[in-house]
Structure formats: C-alpha cells, structure tokens
C-alpha cells in the first residue's frame, strides 16, 4: 500500500520525464559505444593512425553526447515547470 501511494505522489509528467532521461542515457550509451567500437577496430587494423582516429572518435562522441543532452534538458524543463 505504501509503495502505491509513493508511486501516485509523483505526477505523470514528472514520471515520464524521468523515463525520458533514462532513455536519453541508453541512447548516449548506444551511440558512443558504436563510435568507440568502430574506433577500436580501426586502430587494430592500422595502429599508426591511432592519433587521427582517437581525435575523430572524441569529436564524434562529443556531438552524439550533445544530442543526448538535448533530451536531458527537455526532461529537466518538464520537471521544473
């Protein structure tokens, strides 16, 4: 009974915003994981290009992370107002 009342105390919009933030985290993990995997495979194929590949990986990761953080900002706005 207590758990049910606790669950009902949080409004629907705030709960869904929390879920949205979780989905954003999944998306960021998937995206950056794929980038990292591709980078590791390329480094294994051609170790002398490690520097260039590492730089490109970090830039692409920053761009993908930016998109995930848009979603976080939107969820934060839902929670706050």
């Amino acid at each position: 009974m207590d758990l049910l009342t606790v669950l009902l105390e949080v409004s629907l919009s705030v709960g869904l915003a929390g879920l949205g933030a979780g989905v954003a985290a999944i998306a960021a993990g998937l995206g950056i994981g794929k980038i990292g995997a591709a980078a590791l495979e390329s480094i294994a194929r051609q170790p002398e290009a490690t520097g260039d590949i590492r730089a490109s990986m970090i830039v692409a990761a920053a761009l993908v992370e930016g998109v995930a953080l848009f979603a976080v900002i939107v969820c934060l706005l839902v929670v706050l107002g």
Binding site: I58, V59, L69, F70
Partner: protein, 383 residues
C-alpha cells in the same frame, strides 16, 4: 655568457639546486593539515533547506546552477555585487547586501510559505527583482504578481564571471603579443611557448582546413571564441570560486551562437545562398521539400550550437552537485551514513571533475570547429 643558474649545457640548474624530496615531504604534510582544517570547518557550513528544514537536493542544485546577485564563497562569506536597475523613477544602484540582509517570509493563498528579500522599493524573489508597491502579492501557484523592474542591468555572478574571463584573456594575450613584438621570429619563451601551440592548433587544424583560402579573416574570431569558452568552462569547475556557471547560461551561449549566425549570414556569398534557396542538381519536387529544410537549417544550426554548449556544461555541473547532494541526503538519515557515503561520493566527484576538464576543452573545440565549418560553407567558391 652563462649565468649562475645555467649548467655547462646551457640548461637550467634547478634540478640540481632544489631538494625535491624535502619539498614533496613538506607538501604532503601541508596537504594533510589542510584536509584536517577543511573537515573541521566544513562541519559548520549550512546546507540548503526548504521551508520545513529538510534538505532539498533539487533546490540546492538549481540554486547553484542559477544566477545570483552575490558570489557566495563559504558559510556566511559572500561578495555582494551591485544591483543596477531602471524603474519609472530613474536609475538605482545599490549593493545587493541590502537585499540579502533583509529576508522576509510571506504566505501564498494556498498556505505555502515563500521567502523573499526586500529593500526600499524593491522585492527580490528567486533572484528576480520586482517593484515592492504595497508589498509582495502572490497568486495561488506561488508566483509573484508584482510589477517587474523595467531594466535590470545588475552585475550578477555570471556577469562578474565573464569580466573575470575577459580579464584573464586580456592578461594572457597582451603578454603574449608583447613577447612576439619583443622577440620577433626568435624562439618563444615563457607564456608564449605555452600559447603558441594552441593558437597554431586553432589556425592550422580548425580554421584553415575548414575555411580554405579566406581562413585568416575569421581566425581572430575563432581564437577569441575558443579561449573565451574554454576559460569560462574551466572557471566553472574551480571549487570555492563561487560556483560560476558562465557558459552554462543560455543567455551567454545564445549571444555566442547569434554572433556566429550573423557572421555566417553577412559573409555568405552567392553560392551559399543559392545552395540554400535553390539547390542545384536536384529534381524539382525534391527542391520543394529541401528548401524549407535548408531555410530552417540556417537558424537551427546556431541554435544547436547554443544548446549543445549549455547542456554539456550544465549537465556536468549538475552531476557534480548531485554527488555532493547525495552526501547530505544520506547525512539526514544518520551522521555515520553521511560520512560513509562521503568517501565514495567525494572520489566520484573528483573523477567527474577530471572528466569535466576534458569536456571543457572539448566543447570549446567543437564550438570553434563547427563555427569554422559554417564560415567555410558561407565563403565557399563554386567547384
């Protein structure tokens, strides 16, 4: 001629003259002493509390992210910044200490208590300034219905932070420029040798590959924006500097993105606008779909620049603050739980701070790179 500080190879003798073992031993002792004093003092620092006295993590985090009219350093120590407002009665300038030393409480019609500050004709509610009139008026949701001041040009924490960034940039770059003027094409020394790789990196790896022939026209702006964002991000990570959040404010990044938008649009040549409004080499009905998308893209690209920078920096600050808030949340249950979680939380917080240092540089680089790419697209010749 060799001076007393150089050995026979012309290198510095500092490695032979200083006793580094003793210096490190003293540093370790001093660091442990500092930790002990800090732990003692921090027990007297008060945490944020909502009206009923419980620790409200969300409120504390939002308070540290948002702007304020004071720079709160530690405990009761704060730097009170000037409040500059224009009302119907003209300009008014006073120190915000008058406001912060005058807290009041009021009740909304639904019975919740809110706290605000009042001084003279002004009410400050959640860092916004309103005309006092006959006193604070609250509606049912707890929002202030008083008239807001006409123009609020106060020096807030973010503005003071920007002045600090500007001061740091002026100090660094005037000294570097003086060094180049004095030394000409000889090898750089001192601060010059630290800044030269960074400046050349922005010019040779960011500007010239992206823009091509006309790169040197845009390099001053790209350098300014790169160092402004980097230094502002770093200032936000320094603890006890008041928790500045310069680039995490939408207003600051909006101005940066607006400048990029204006420069791109002004420098756009015929091919740039032609590609947007009437893309060549595309079937007609695809053009009809593409033109609105490209036109929206003119505005969306700077908008995305703005949100990317703000979101990354704010998210980093929120994560660090959340780890700190975790300590207080557990501390409310029991003091020993607070201490226990404090160790792990502090380690995670230090780790996140290092990640945020990387993010500080990376976001400055990404902003500069994308600005350079937009400029390059604007001045691109036909091929």
């Amino acid at each position: 001629m060799r001076n007393v500080y150089e050995n026979e190879h012309g290198n510095s003798k500092i490695w032979e003259l200083c006793d580094f073992k003793k210096i490190f031993a003293q540093m370790k002792k001093g660091f442990i002493l500092f930790l002990a004093v800090f732990a003692l003092l921090s027990s007297s620092v008060s945490a944020a509390s909502s009206e009923d006295g419980k620790f409200n993590a969300g409120e504390m985090i939002m308070h540290h992210i948002a702007d304020a009219h004071e720079i709160h350093l530690i405990g009761d120590l704060a730097i009170y910044l000037p409040v500059i407002v224009k009302t119907d009665n003209g300009w008014d300038v006073f120190s915000s200490s008058h406001l912060y030393h005058n807290p009041q409480t009021a009740e909304t019609p639904s019975g919740d208590k809110v706290s605000y500050y009042q001084y003279g004709d002004y009410i400050m509610f959640h860092e916004h300034l309103y005309m006092a009139g006959d006193g604070i008026e609250l509606n049912d949701e707890g929002e202030v219905m008083n008239q807001a001041v006409a123009i609020d040009l106060s020096i807030t924490k973010t503005v003071a932070g920007m002045f600090l960034t500007i001061l740091i940039m002026i100090l660094i770059f005037t000294s570097v420029a003086k060094g180049y003027k004095k030394r000409g094409v000889a090898a750089p020394k001192g601060l010059q040798s630290f800044m030269e790789p960074l400046i050349l990196f922005v010019r040779d790896e960011v500007a010239r590959p992206s823009i091509g022939k006309h790169a040197d026209r845009f390099v001053p702006f790209l350098l300014s924006v790169f160092f402004f964002i980097w230094i502002s991000n770093i200032l936000g990570l320094i603890p006890f500097l008041g928790g500045l959040n310069i680039t995490g404010t939408l207003s600051v990044t909006m101005v940066l993105a607006a400048i990029v938008f204006i420069v791109t649009s002004i420098n756009g040549n015929k091919h740039y606008w032609g590609h947007i409004l009437w893309p060549p080499g595309v079937p007609f009905f695809v053009k009809l779909i593409l033109v609105p998308i490209e036109f929206a893209g003119i505005f969306i690209k700077p908008l995305v620049l703005m949100v990317r920078l703000t979101a990354n920096i704010t998210a980093g600050h929120i994560i660090i603050l959340a780890f700190v808030a975790l300590i207080f949340i557990f501390g409310e249950q029991s003091a020993s739980a607070g201490y226990g979680i404090g160790i792990g939380s502090t380690l995670f917080m230090i780790f996140m701070n290092f990640i945020e240092l990387l993010v500080a540089f990376l976001q400055a680089y990404v902003f500069t790179l994308l600005s350079a790419l937009y400029f390059g697209a604007a001045v691109e010749e036909a091929h």
